[in-house]
Symmetry: C2
Subunit: 218 residues, 2 copies
């Protein structure tokens, strides 16, 4: 399974790239500068102790990936996708992991979106034939990037495209101790994005860092 | 611990009353008609096999309870509280468990509230000195009322009143396999109420009935 990252040098991208590579996926880091992507890939491979991740240009990454994670800050997702619009193939699956959050007096606040959620806002900006899936929204980036810690939690997926959701679910199952759950249509992102605020509040209250969700009874 | 129910004859009230009574709390069902409350209490005591629950008038229930659960339909919470306004003592803790949901074409939808959540709407209608806590919002009523099934999940509490939240948390700990978690201020109800939509969507997708949440890492 070929998994690409548009903006894979932040904490979320790093965590997902490392975990997918360690699980046997073919991982491509994309960047405007192929050289910068190569440097990040080298660092990640050092962490892994094996050369499993390759850095390249966004154009090359988008041409050869099947599933592409958009791992840029939440307000950069739409610009980053639009900047690469010419390279989006119709059979590509884009995965939005973003959460629109701001901290006010030390407390996380969800930034209300006119469209309902960041995922729905993105959906309005990409060509209709591109398949869009929301995923990993409720798992904090620093938890993902601490790759020695098993996750033991659920990954909620949402999409208006059933086959795309199922394919992303398959990829999630590669990573040990993660369970993909079909949370419904893309508009479920309204709930998933807000759950991150709850996770951060729980971390603050209990002086922990790793709050994440599991569903009992499914 | 004396726990009262304003409107305890629905599924949510039934489940909570039975579980609290079985856990050793002193449970009072309140109703406009003391007689009707008595009939419901008799039925619940039959289920329990012991006479642990008492039915009485709302006035009596509010005079003698320490924590009062508002277990009426979501759009009846404010009217039910206002109807009993004269009997609200300042040291009373009211617990809002409501979730504003409607089903459209078989799909649950969160009914957006001007105030942000049903809990916040209620806060604007009760005297400021009344202590208000949101709780049990993410656990489906039919899961609560199936008292032979251990819950094994977390109860998220939210309140702008720390001591009231802590007291409700103490009461939640009476019930085996439930863990109370401090989810932050009352506005966290915006997240918790929406999580119920996610739970219902998961139940529909996976043909289950008992989806409920646990937090890993806390």
């Amino acid at each position: 399974m070929r998994i690409g990252f548009l903006g894979g040098t932040g904490e979320e991208g790093r965590g997902l790239a490392l975990r997918f590579a360690a699980a046997g996926a073919s991982v491509l880091l994309g960047s405007r500068s192929a050289e910068r992507a190569g440097i990040a890939a080298d660092q990640y491979n050092m962490t892994l102790g094996r050369s499993l991740i390759r850095g390249t240009s966004n154009t090359d990454m988008l041409a050869t990936s099947e599933i592409v994670y958009l791992t840029v800050p939440f307000d950069q997702v739409v610009p980053a996708v639009l900047a690469n619009r010419g390279d989006l193939r119709p059979d590509l699956i884009l995965v939005d992991v973003s959460v629109p959050l701001l901290f006010r007096e030390g407390r996380p606040e969800y930034v209300d979106q006119v469209e309902g959620s960041n995922a729905e806002a993105l959906a309005q900006h990409i060509p209709q034939e591109i398949q869009l899936v929301g995923a990993f929204k409720t798992i904090p980036a620093h938890v993902l990037s601490d790759i020695d810690t098993p996750l033991f939690c659920d990954v909620f997926l949402c999409s208006d495209n059933g086959p795309a959701l199922a394919r992303v679910a398959q990829s999630v199952r590669l990573i040990p101790s993660l369970r993909p759950l079909d949370a419904g249509p893309l508009r479920a992102a309204r709930i998933l994005e807000r759950m991150t605020v709850l996770a951060i509040n729980l971390n603050k209250r209990y002086k922990k860092r790793g709050a994440r969700f599991r569903v009992e009874g499914i």
